[in-house]
Assembly symmetry: C2
Homo-oligomer: 382 residues x 2
Amino acid sequence: MDRRTGLPVVGMVGGGQLARMTQQAAIPLGLTLRVLSARPDDGAALVTPQTVLGEHTSYEDLAGFAAPCDVVTFDHEHVPTALVEKLAADGHTVYPSAAALIHAQDKLVMRERLAALGLPVPRWAPAADAAAVAAFGTEVGWPLVAKAARGGYDGKGVWVLDTAADADDLLAHGVPLLLEEKVPLRRELSALVARSPFGQVGAWPVVETVQRGGICVEVLAPARGLAAAGAEAQELAITLADRLGVVGVLAVELFETHTGRLLVNELAMRPHNSGHWTIEGSRTSQFEQHLRAVLDYPLGVTAMTAPAVVMANVLGGEPGGPSLDERLHHLFAADPAIRVHLYGKQVRPGRKIAHVTALGDDLDAVRERAARAARHLRDGHS
Amino acid sequence: MDRRTGLPVVGMVGGGQLARMTQQAAIPLGLTLRVLSARPDDGAALVTPQTVLGEHTSYEDLAGFAAPCDVVTFDHEHVPTALVEKLAADGHTVYPSAAALIHAQDKLVMRERLAALGLPVPRWAPAADAAAVAAFGTEVGWPLVAKAARGGYDGKGVWVLDTAADADDLLAHGVPLLLEEKVPLRRELSALVARSPFGQVGAWPVVETVQRGGICVEVLAPARGLAAAGAEAQELAITLADRLGVVGVLAVELFETHTGRLLVNELAMRPHNSGHWTIEGSRTSQFEQHLRAVLDYPLGVTAMTAPAVVMANVLGGEPGGPSLDERLHHLFAADPAIRVHLYGKQVRPGRKIAHVTALGDDLDAVRERAARAARHLRDGHS
């Protein structure tokens, strides 16, 4: 407890935009957020007084950081499993636990577990050598998808293999590979839930995530034309949160095939890009819900605040053009209803620097507003 | 500009809950908030890395604080006028300006100016001696209201005089008094607007403020059964913002008489308790709008997010009972849709420690939820 306020101290490992937006959610709840950040100018470090500089791969840094925290949680999944386990063994409350978190850290472990639970996944196989790659390709057909079992973020660490030879380089570098059939997609969905230690689960409406070049560019809430698939996706996420013992937010990224089947693609156990729309679009944002979950507070309602909500990511554009401040002026003039979230980052081409959210009654109109606003912040014109 | 982000630094003098909620609004806008706070455990100081400890009555403290700011604004009206003027003379951008702010600092100046503008006010008179008090009482009838021309917050600095002798003590203490007729009220309203240096004005729906013992306990948005009076109140606030040259949020507290007349009671030139409902209840909160206004960004839309929104203030209750943390647990269990804003303050009886907001379709139901939640946080039970 923070003696100044009589309310808990929540530690978040990682100082990126997820921790930054968690600080925004912690303020009204009266909570003290403590952030372990690699650099003093990380997005969360800029807005959080209790920022500790340190490395998430150093147990000394982690333990010093965790000491005054009532609970420790994460803004990314890069803390080595052994260190998460040691924090818990040393008496710290850590959510999600190492046993749950491993399923968001290691894709092979995740695939094995989901298969054991009988949940729908693409056909998959581990591959340690060229023979295994060739055999799997023969079985499911080319091209196929190879993923690094550990690491990988927003599409990095994922490769499309046209032939077995395409894996040679990866294997030579000793990357433990998960191979998957290349699923013919109608679209990608995300089912977001939060679960508390008590076992309460709250689910937001299932959303549609639009990817371009392996990067999520847009999230449409709710996903269009979901009938039974919406309930099925929510049920899947709730089951997974329960079976894996997740505490906090769980994002289940799903493939919807042309025949309407749902297959689990990836898991994340933290506030997730596919849930940024909840800040204005839901009565309880994913950041507040994550805090409530890891503290075992009762969860908030997840009802939408508008019929259609669209979030668009803003990537840094090419250098030159108007300053970010000027872009913001013009954007607000062009759309006084747009909601802007800047991450406090220096602009670099392709770097996620912000997101925008539009709300309204008509999805197409809302979508066009969000896309235009994102272009405006990226390029200085729409 | 903050070189780390390429976006402005906004300085706010005062580290209370208004600055704390402004920090919450500054985060998504990518702005750097800098707070001048008297104590390291003030509500805003707890959540704002750039907190400078100092006194708002010391020019040295103010100037050092203002040095890296693109604009300086206020979370209260207690900075002496001469120091506000000197900050501007020394090249700092200060909003609202001293010339505008004086109308929220000095009730006599305000009354004189409003009378000169021909705006509706209660009958009033300055009073420097007992003879003046007696004469005014004879003119408008007893009891009458006496206000300290300067100072006064949430009802302190306001007295009801039954006879001229009741003013003796005040006059003996040299309090410059403003006398006003005691207006027979139907209710109190608040018209909230924001104005930018460019001259753009945004107005929120007019709300009803419910006072108990001189303290605002509840705000109902929108005010019930306003017909022409709603437009009249908004027009009044817009006119005032324009004529006084206000930049930032202006709250115009109004009396509605039994005959439906509107009279201006008080002015505030900062985010105001009567606008806390806008955090969830309007597409643009008063805190974001204040930041946009003082930075001369185009203003955001002020549309409501639900048909009925009620804010209830939470005052500290008697010592004992469940901890604040336990109260929060039980409150969230009782009402998963309630929105809570804790100010990070130690609980003391009568001290404003939080507010709660409820949203919905039916005002009576929403009002009951907000009142119950406020009781819950105050007393540990509802």
